[in-house]
Structure formats: C-alpha cells, structure tokens
C-alpha cells in the first residue's frame, strides 16, 4: 500500500528530471556539450555524487534496490525519515533530506565524509532502532551510502571538510584525570550529563533535538558504547565535532587537543563498567591496546592517594 502510493509520489517529483532527457535530444545535446563543456563546467560536478571507500565505488542503482529492501520501512521512500514504522520509533529515523548527521569526523555544520556514513552504517546507532548493517557486504554498504547521499543536495554542493584532526593519544595519568575533571567542570558537561555522568543534569529534562522532540543525554554510568563508536578516538571526536541535530554542541573552539584528551580520560572513569565492556569485544587486544587499563590504573593511583 505505502509502496505504491509513495513510489507514485516519488515518480511525480522526479518526472521533471525525466523530461529533460528525451531520446531525440540526445545527439544535439552531446554536440553542444562537446563544444562548451571544457570551458563552463568544473569536472567536480560530475563526481560530486561518487562514493568511494578504499578501492570500492558505490553503485546508485544497486544502492537504491538495497535501500528499498532494507531502509525504506523506517527512513521512507523519500528519505525523509517518515517511513511506515517511523511513528513507533524513538528516537525517530534520520531525515536524510536535511543532510545533518550525528556521527562525523568533520566540524559542526558540515556534511560527513563517506567513511563516516559507512562506519555509522556498519556500527548501527546504539540505543536506537538503527541496527548494525555489518551483515551486508562491504560493497552493499557502500552502494547504500551512495544512494542515501542523493537525498540531500548538500552532498552536491558542499565538501566534507574541515575534518577535525585527532592527534595521538597521550597516556592517562593521575594528573591527566585531575585535569580532565577540571575541564569537565569548566565546560559544564554536568549541566546535561550530571555530576556523575548519569545523564541527570539540571537541563537534561528540557532537552529537545532539532525537530523539537525530547532527547536524553548519554548516561556514562551504563558503560555502554556511544552512539558514534566506542574507542577513545571516537569519544574525542564526539565532543569535538558535536552531534549535529542534537543538543550536544562542538567543543572544538573551547578545547586544545591536550585538554580534550584529558577530558576523554576523565569521562572514561565515569563509565563504571568500561574496563569490562572494552575487554568483552570479540577481538582480543594486547594490554597496551586496552585503553581502559591505563585509565583504571591511573584512577586507582588517584583514589589511593586520597
């Protein structure tokens, strides 16, 4: 039912584009084009839509088929987040037509990179109805990204930059945790996330997203992964780029990289079960690659010294 109606709708909205290239015009068009193309158009126009990750290029045609099969139920035929299931979901499905995304490596107000979208798709969005699409093949996920990008003109008009650099992480120490605590206070993270990071700050109950729907701040004490990843680098990126479309702002202009890392280390101490959850991953890592351990040790040193 919905498919027929919405596909008709979409056809109507795209009919204009269809009318522009009737068969008869093709030859003259090509001739004219050959004459004026080099002078008038930057080649970027043609490739603005191309989606490429590593050596894999996304296909719009396959992407559309996959989208119609897997995504349309929530995100809708028009990509506006108003699919059949949307009214029953909280948070609501993303409206792709706005071109605004939470998980980005780019500064606030800018479109995400292809890689950002690809990683979001593979990871899913924790504490929402968006599952991980890792079971699809790499090629399929890239095809989907290629298609999803067509819903917003921003991907034609803008470039995914500036990317916020994430410098190498310095080791955590009792000093860095203390500095991180000071930054946590100074940036007033507790206004929403609460003093102990439970997501129970004074402003928490008043928060709304950009579509004026109620939204809750992240509760660090659950120790669960974040919306945009679970590594320390992801955490760094989350508060430096902000989560666009939500109340979470960017702190890029407020924090220097060293301060941001101190804050990352402090935030990890709010995640009571962090060490366990980090080590419960399927991949076994060496102790040096378990960021939780160095922070735990530093925290023990802090509490021991008190």
């Amino acid at each position: 039912m919905w498919t027929e109606r919405s596909i008709e709708h979409e056809k109507a909205s795209r009919a204009r584009v269809g009318r522009l290239r009737p068969q008869a015009f093709r030859l003259p068009v090509l001739a004219i084009l050959a004459a004026i193309l080099p002078a008038t158009l930057p080649s970027a126009v043609c490739f603005a839509q191309q989606t490429r990750i590593g050596n894999v290029t996304g296909s719009l045609k396959r992407g559309k088929e996959l989208y119609r099969r897997y995504c349309v139920g929530c995100h809708g035929v028009l990509g506006n987040g108003q699919g059949e299931n949307a009214p029953y979901l909280d948070p609501r499905p993303r409206d792709f037509t706005a071109g605004v995304f939470k998980c980005r490596s780019t500064d606030t107000g800018h479109i995400p990179t292809d890689m950002d979208l690809y990683e979001t798709l593979g990871r899913g969005l924790h504490a929402s109805a968006m599952p991980s699409w890792f079971p699809l093949t790499r090629q399929q996920r890239i095809d989907l990204i290629a298609y999803v990008k067509t819903f917003s003109p921003r991907f034609h008009e803008e470039k995914p930059e500036p990317v916020v650099p994430v410098p190498p992480e310095p080791p955590a120490s009792p000093e860095s945790l203390n500095r991180g605590l000071e930054i946590f206070k100074k940036m007033e993270c507790a206004k929403c996330h609460g003093l102990s990071g439970r997501g129970d700050g004074p402003s928490a109950s008043t928060l709304t997203d950009s579509k004026d729907r109620p939204i809750v701040p992240y509760d660090f004490t659950t120790g669960e992964r974040f919306k945009c990843g679970q590594t320390n680098q992801d955490l760094y990126r989350i508060f430096m780029t902000g989560l666009d479309g939500t109340p979470m702002p960017s702190y890029l202009k407020d924090l220097k990289p060293d301060q941001a890392w101190d804050l990352v280390h402090y935030l990890r101490t709010l995640q009571m079960n962090y060490e366990n959850s980090a080590n419960n991953g399927a991949v076994k890592t060496s102790p040096a690659r378990q960021p939780g351990r160095s922070i735990r040790n530093a925290l023990r040193a802090v509490s021991g010294s008190k």
Binding site: L20, F25, R26, V29, T40, G242, P247, S250, Y251, K253
Partner: protein, 260 residues
C-alpha cells in the same frame, strides 16, 4: 560507461533547460563593469514607517529560570518572554521590515562590521537581529555560565557550538538568505532569538518606537514585507521615485486565539 554517459546527459540537460543559471554566471562577471547600480546619493529614496499591532499586545509571561540559579540571580524580577514586545503607542518591536521583491539585480558586499548577539542574564540580546549573507556574526557570552549557540536554519548550515564563560566571541556567518533562523541554547531551554539573513542591505529591525527606516533605495517598484516571529509576514507594494521619502505603516492583526 553507462554511468558516465548518464552524467554527461544530465549536465547537458541542465545546461539546456536552465539558461538562467548559465546567464547568471555571465551577469556576475559583468557586474563589476556595468550592472552595479550607480545611483547618486541624492537620487535615492527613503522609506520610513511604523509597525503596529491591532489591539492590545499579549503580555509576556515570566520566564522560569530555576534550572540555572545563576540566571535567576541575574534578574531582580523574572524577565518576561519576548515573543511579542510592544513598543510605544501600540507599535511592535522586533519586527523586520525588508524589501522582498524588486531589489536591483546585483551582488552586495557584506558590511565589514560584525553583527553582535550578546548572551546576558541567560537571554539573547537583541532578540531579533538581521544581517547580510556572509556578514560576520559575533556571539558574546557575558554570563558566568556556559551557553551553546544552536541555530536551526532550513536553508543554511545547522551548527551547534558550546561557549563556556570567559572565552572569546564566536564568529560565524550565513551564506544564504533566510527569514528568519530560530536560535536555541539547549542548556537553557527558554533562550531563543532569531537571525534574519538577507542578500541585500535593505532591511530594518524595529526598536522601542516600532519604527523602521530603509535608506538609499534606488528608484523603482518594490514589495515591502514586515516579518514578526509570532504574527507572520505582511507585504505591501510601493513605488519609490528619485529623492523621495515615503512613509508606510504595517498593522499586524493577531488572531483571536493568539492572546491566550
């Protein structure tokens, strides 16, 4: 192959079907030589007037700032909401009057002075600002508490930056015309202001007297619009002759259910 052919065809189609776009390019190239309206100061017109409200203005309600004790302390009595602020003699503040049609077809460089919004006492000051596209917007935090500045545009980039106390002003700009962008501070849910972005310099925000003034108007026919956050937009036609000063008033009629 098929893809690149499709792409070429789409471009060709867009060139053929979209001559204004192409022409637009050449116009701006020539703009420097011929198309910038060179109108001597004495030959331009001025439009002034009042923005009024038909009937009594709905009273503002006290804002409950209990979530932020610092904000409560900043005000001896709770400040009132600023959705409708009456000016003197039945006039209306915070309305924007601007040319909506008939602006000379040229590019206007943005003024070099920034427009400033100050966050003070957990409110934005002023409540409504207007600026030109690509003109600098400066956001100052004079409060001893953090704010986040979160514009919610529909035709511009949506960004959201935190501004803890004591940090230098934020500088941003908006590229496209939009009337008007609501701005939130998510930390303090009651904070709200509006930023209007124009591609031309012919706009004016009414102050305490409810008056506006559009200066240096080249002679011509215009549609003049008045925008108010609560009452919407009114439009009137006007013709300005060289050297003329005209007056024009706007009267907003609030709907019956609006006074609540």
């Amino acid at each position: 192959m098929k893809r690149s052919r499709l792409c070429v065809l789409t471009i060709a189609a867009s060139i053929l079907s979209n001559p204004p776009l192409h022409k637009g390019g050449t116009v701006s190239e020539e703009a420097g030589q011929t198309l910038v309206p060179v109108v001597r100061a004495e030959a331009t017109g001025t439009l002034t007037g009042l923005v009024k409200l038909d009937g009594p203005a709905p009273k503002g309600k006290p804002i409950n700032m209990a979530k932020e004790p610092i904000c409560v302390k900043a005000h001896p009595t709770p400040p009132l909401t600023e959705e409708v602020v009456a000016g003197a003699n039945g006039t209306l503040q915070n309305a924007i009057v601007y040319i909506s049609e008939g602006v000379p077809n040229s590019t206007f460089d943005p003024p070099s002075d920034p427009v400033v919004i100050e966050q003070k006492g957990c409110q934005f000051h002023p409540h409504v600002v207007a600026l030109q596209s690509n003109q600098k917007l400066q956001v100052v935090n004079s409060d001893p508490t953090s704010h986040n500045i979160h514009p919610l545009p529909s035709n511009n980039r949506e960004w959201n930056r935190s501004q803890p106390p004591g940090l230098p002003p934020l500088e941003e700009s908006f590229a496209r015309e939009e009337i008007a962008i609501p701005v939130k501070c998510n930390i303090h849910a009651w904070m709200r202001c509006y930023i209007a972005v124009f591609k031309h310099p012919y706009f004016s925000v009414t102050g305490a007297t409810g008056s506006f003034s559009l200066k240096n108007l080249p002679p011509g026919n215009y549609a003049i619009a008045a925008w108010h956050e609560k009452f919407g937009t009114l439009t009137q036609k006007v013709t300005i002759a060289a050297g003329e000063t005209k007056t024009l008033d706007f009267v907003f009629k609030p709907r019956a259910n609006m006074s609540e």
